[in-house]
Amino acid sequence: MASVTGLKPEALYRRCDPARLGFENTAELSAAAQLFGQPRATDSIEFGIGIERAGFNLFVMGPAGTGKRTLVKDRIVRKAERRAPCSDWVYVNNFSEPSRPAAIELPAGRGAALRNDMLQLVEELRTAIPAVFESDEYRTRAGQIEAEFIERHEKAFTELGEEAARERIGLLRTPAGFTFAPLKDREVISSEDFAALPEQEKKRIEERIVALQSKLENILRGVVRWRKEQRERVKQLNREMTLFAVGHHVAELNERYRGLPKVLSYLDAVQQDVIENAEDFMRGREGQGGGPAALSAEAPPFRRYHVNLMVDHDAGNGTPIVSEDHPTCQNLIGRVDHVSQFGALVTDFTLVKPGALHRANGGHLLIDAYKLLTQPFAWEALKRALSTRQIRIESLAEMYSLVSTVSLAPEPIPLDVKVVLFGDRLIYYLLHAYDPDFRELFKVVADFEERFDRTPENDSLLAQLVATIARERKLAAFDCHAVARVIEHSSRLAGDARKLSADIQAVSDLLCEADHWAREAGRDRVAAADVERAIGAQRRRADRLRERMHEAILRGTVLIDTAGARVGQINGLSVLQLGEHLFAEPTRITATTRLGEGRVIDVQREVELGGAIHSKGVLILSAFLAARFSTKRPHALSASLVFEQTYGLVEGDSASLAELCALLSSLAEAPIGQALAVTGSVNQLGEVQAIGAVNEKIEGFFDICSARGLSGGQGVLIPAANAQDLMLRSDVVAAVAEGRFHVYPVSHVDQAIELLTGMPAGEPDAAGGFPPATVNGRVARRLRDLSALRQQQQAAGAPPRRRGRGRDRAGS
């Protein structure tokens, strides 16, 4: 096995040479940088926006802060500028069926014009109609109709009265009607005089009165008929007069909206309604005072002529781009409001409110997928609208019978919109797997990278982005050293010296903070020191928990040795992430070994504090041991592995190399140097595999060692595959350069155990045996001894080992 040497300082940090950037400060950079490093996502977005087919809506996924919205908006704006403006939409009263308001499409900018025209029309009619009805012509003609009726009516009564008088019978008016009574000397006969009349005369009078009453009855029935005829004639007169008042106003509007048949039909319906309800305009002149009372009393008769402008586009603004930040069902598809009137909830077409789909119709609607999915009924409403290609406003309360109020059913509006959903990958794949509609409606996916290659070209583009952000945010110019430091930090954020982070938001935040520190220091240029200070400040703000853990180790509360050597004990490295802050701390891992049935007990797993991946790592190292040392005899080993002083869930397999080394140490009784810490996972062949957060892990152990005093023998073993990821802090790099700290890249467990124990690992001979004075030799001998011991026990008829629910019991 080749010996391992520590990495050189230059391998621990990939510097960005400011001289290669080609500028002194960002003020020299004029061109605004576009989002770069996302060619796949950019192509997808351009395709998704460009294709004009149903169902080709976009799902843009990727981590937050990568500029997804910026890129999408930029591409949409470019396309929108080339497209014709979208239509305006209005809701108007449906005079034949008021509960179903009618939707009218108008060219951009003309919706508001129609609304104003209708307001103007109503205002003019409020003057014109009363004026017509107060004109001498109307009064004369109405008076003639009334007089004709009265004359007809009076003539009938007069003739009847005269007929009665000729027979000495009077027609009298009672409070409730009419009656006939015989007369004597032009006065009603007294009851005594009537009693004195001959019976024949009495009978004649009564018969005559009955006959006259019959005629009177006919006249009164005729009066009802005449009155009806009179009303019809007055109504017809009113229609004529109203038509005169309204006709030329409507004709003017007809001319203005020629070529818009739906508007013309609406205007025709308005004219008919005004004619039929002219009296509203007569009453409307009263109660003109201000205040809510006047509004509620006056408004209703004329509200039906209002125009509810749902979508108003400026003719020069191209297609709309709408971002809906609160995508509730109602905010998407619109709603019908109600107002309380005398204790009842009432509504009409003027209370129909538009949703984001209305505003975005003909253009693009941008929604956050998570927000959409967490709003009740919103996702279903959006899918329904996209599937049917129309916006149908439905009341949720009515749909789910929460209220019994009869609401409106506005005419659906045709929908032509491109929806862009933004979300993380989990949401996309869940929707794709479980919602068949999603696949039909969101056929285009744009997948944003978290990081991209760190090439000289991309370094330059990132520098341009820094300049652009500085300009947009009105920050001080960054000198080339500061920009270089930003690029290096971006690489650190990516966790890979060969990559740059796509988290533009993080870069932007760093620039703002660096600008702040530069201004605090009274400089008009941001220097590398300001960037460094900003990075340090960011870390410090989030560093409370790391400091407390660090303190616990230094005080001995948490046992971590950084010197000496112990059998079966090793320093592992654990990573913790709190929010966006990632840090690592050493963790003591111990291993004990004894006679058993070939199983390695992971104590974390036994107490259900170990995750599945961690358990997998332990099983792999168990398999490694069996495969390497017990191919010809029973594997009679029981071992226990513990993450000491950990009280939470342990997940991941990055400690499996450390665990294996601890086991080998225990079996070989070879002490492990505590000045070293180990990270890396192993496979069944003992090969060391890459892990994550290697920088944080190295720095975590370095901080403890540094606090206790660097001895020169301390260091960290990392997988060789991670060597190119390193972007370590400057103090770590400096310590390595001075030989006070080391970073060892290992590719096999044998390399690690040699470094840790100072003993040779031992190469197997042709028969698979190992030299006795090596770690592997000692391990093989110990396992052989255990196997022999077990065979002896079995031959002696020792009772079988008790088993607890299928697992070995520790210590037996």
Binding site: E134, D136, R139, G143, A147, F149, I150, H153, E154, F157, T158, G161, G170, L171, L172, R173, T174, P175, A176, G177, F178, T179, A181, P182, R186, E187, V188, I189, S190, S191, F194, E206, I209, Q213, L216, E217, L220, R221, V223, V224, R227, E286
Partner: protein
């Protein structure tokens, strides 16, 4: 106070109610005069003796105005109906007078209109007779709301009078001047114009009266249309007033028909309220 402004000394405006309400125009005329002259509005409800006698007859039946159903009517029924009608008229008068802050009174008498009314209206004043008569079958009873209660605009308050002229029978007598004075005030209040129906014996007399009245009106910033009557007979007066479409006629002639049938015929022919100057 001049003799010609003697209308100001008038005691009251008497408006006659009976089983047939006087009609909207008559009520507006009475209220308009009371408001214009600032004098008392006196309602007089006449319980018609003929109706009382009729109810005592054994076979009498009433034909309902709205229902057109024939039903018996006895003295007790009639008494109740008259009381209700009188009470309704009183409330209406009270409401109208209160709305315009007018002095008012109301009385119920039993007799025969118009004699009972003329007897009640002794002394200088005005008596307003309505046009309803049989016409209440066509026009209904009292208006649902008195003028001035809900309507605010002058034209709306005196809707029956607005835009139609107030006609005055004028012969130069002291009563005629009182009639003119009252008519002028009423026309100003109702926002309408005046028509003078001049009863003169010759052209010279007509011109003299016209000039005199015109000067009187000019002093008050008013004007009028003058018509010379062919005679002082009621038929000519009625024809002239009707031809002018008068909203009300102020009658200063001495020959006021005192019997019901003649007055009814006169009002039917006239087609507007008649205001007698007493």
């Amino acid at each position: 106070m001049s003799e010609r402004d003697a209308a100001d000394a008038a005691m009251r405006i008497v408006v006659a109610f009976d089983a047939a309400p006087p009609g909207e125009a008559a009520l507006e005329t009475a209220i308009g005069l009371a408001a214009a002259l600032g004098i008392e509005l006196a309602g007089l409800f006449v319980e018609d003796l003929d109706l009382v006698r009729m109810a005592e007859l054994p076979f009498t039946r009433e034909l309902g105005l709205a229902s057109v159903v024939t039903r018996p009517i006895g003295p007790a029924d009639l008494e109740r109906a008259l009381r209700l009608q009188a009470e309704s008229s009183r409330k209406w008068l009270e409401s109208a007078a209160s709305a315009l802050n007018l002095r008012w009174s109301f009385e119920v008498v039993r007799g025969r209109a118009p004699a009972a009314v003329l007897e009640y209206a002794i002394g200088p004043g005005f008596v307003v007779f309505g046009t309803a008569l049989y016409g209440s079958a066509a026009r209904g009873a009292c208006p649902s709301a008195p003028p001035g209660v809900h309507r605010r605009a002058r034209g709306e308050r005196f809707r029956s009078l607005h835009l139609r002229p107030i006609a005055v029978l004028f012969d130069g007598s002291e009563r005629a001047w009182r009639a003119l004075s009252a008519a002028h005030a009423l026309a100003a209040t109702a926002g309408t114009r005046l028509v003078l129906l001049v009863a003169a014996d010759g052209a010279g007399e007509f011109e003299r009266l016209r000039d005199e009245v015109r000067s009187w009106l000019v002093e008050r910033g008013a004007m009028a249309r003058f018509l010379r009557l062919r005679s002082r007979g009621a038929a000519d007066v009625v024809q002239a007033a009707k031809a002018e479409g008068a909203a009300a006629l102020l009658w200063c002639g001495a020959a006021v028909p005192a019997d019901r049938e003649t007055l009814r015929a006169l009002l039917a022919a006239l087609g507007c309220p008649l205001v007698l100057i007493t």
